[in-house]
Symmetry: C2
């Protein structure tokens, strides 16, 4: 999970646990797929498999929203899609601004799945004067000077930061001062925000490092098992060259 919230200690957001909120979009995606295949109802077990979670967890999650299921039958797909959408606030249209239209910002602007679920790219903002006016994904880039006006005019409350790390905190402060209360941060920095502002971060580098940790551990365990004469569990083909870059696994030589 390339994510983490900031501030706001307790959960109790109208009683729905934070962990549940984080899974609702997952259920919604699975349900939307079922809806497109015109499947009328689905059991907690089927839906759980589709969403990649435990079925008891899924039922408990839904129980926070109310009793929308029918015992012996399951859940009505359309009805559940509506209920979850409403709970997540997706029945409204959320204007979003993206700040920092470089490699990543441009990719985000071009991302189709953005608009698909109630989010609309209201503006693209960059500090580079060269970029001003140039269209990216059909939307002209605007200069940072316009930031406050853009936020205000469009009633934007969600901002995406895709600037280099150095500028992120300052951009964040301007966004917040202008009225933004939710920020999705792609820059590798810890953002400091006042209470009442939500920050979520997506950090590629952290994700890779976490994977590397487990990868190293797997290589170590495997080496230890080989040392002990235990044959590697399965997949010994790939296993035999698992030390990355031809390096020796980080275990004691003797």
């Amino acid at each position: 999970m390339a994510t983490g919230r900031t501030h706001r200690p307790a959960t109790r957001s109208r009683g729905i646990p934070e962990a549940t909120v984080a899974r609702l979009p997952l259920y919604l995606r699975a349900l939307t797929a079922l809806s497109e295949r015109s499947v009328p109802t689905v059991s907690s077990e089927e839906l759980a498999v589709a969403a990649g979670v435990n079925s008891a967890k899924l039922r408990k999650d839904f129980s926070y929203l109310g009793s929308y299921g029918t015992r012996g039958v399951g859940y009505d797909v359309e009805y559940l899609v509506y209920q979850i959408s409403r709970e997540l606030g997706l029945t409204q249209d959320w204007p979003v601004v993206i700040v920092g239209i470089g490699n990543l910002g441009a990719a985000l602007a071009n991302y189709g799945g953005f608009a698909s679920r109630g989010f609309r790219v209201a503006a693209l903002i960059d500090a580079d004067p060269e970029m001003a006016g140039k269209p990216v994904a059909g939307i002209p880039v605007q200069h940072t000077d316009e930031l406050e006006r853009i936020i205000s005019d469009n009633g934007v409350s969600i901002g995406v930061i895709a600037t280099p790390a150095g500028g992120a905190q300052q951009v964040c402060e301007r966004l917040v001062a202008a009225g933004v209360t939710s920020i999705l941060n792609f820059a590798p920095t810890v953002l400091t925000v006042p209470d009442g502002v939500d920050v979520r971060k997506v950090d590629l580098s952290i994700e890779l490092q976490i994977l590397a940790f487990h990868e190293q551990r797997k290589a170590g365990e495997e080496a230890a098992a080989a040392e002990a004469g235990t044959p590697p569990p399965i997949r010994s083909t790939a296993a035999s060259r698992k030390g990355p870059d031809g390096e020796v696994p980080a275990v004691m030589p003797a």
Copy 2:
């Protein structure tokens, strides 16, 4: 947090809790910044602020790695950088392949922070024959047909999937069959993998939906507070037009 692991029930990865592992890269980043400023030592309190966490949590996290601090003084920055790097497996060089060189894949390939910490883009792979041979970020794109050979030749164990959702599971299976045991997935799908393979996902859409949930809740609470005659907490300027797109907040009209 745009993240979530799959499979592998218990933690106990050599005793280091998963939550701690997820924070180590954060500490490492803060420590690297200190190191570049030639700061010799740092207290848990200072470092905690820099990393945006509680200092007790930070100390407990470090205690899992061993006793690397000096009471009354703090932690030696250089030494800690080394210890965390080693623990995360960053003293090795990890070759990574990126599959699906579209908007996002190209941005990832161009991402500088990639190589900075032990990760090296070994190959770019795409199914589009038109792209084969074209250089992206200085690396020629190779066709999917070569996938197995590339993984094998380079000893790749970490793969990044940036294809459309439809192709992700199949790409995933080919990667795993070829020997990849860690996957970072950007496609909005639940990937099914065999035991022993780690999957982490980054899902922009889910992040935005979580933000929207809290945003809606804030708007609702505010409306309720206004109704009750209680003035909005702070920042009433921005608050007064918090209903997105000029819509009425989703509360009962009367």
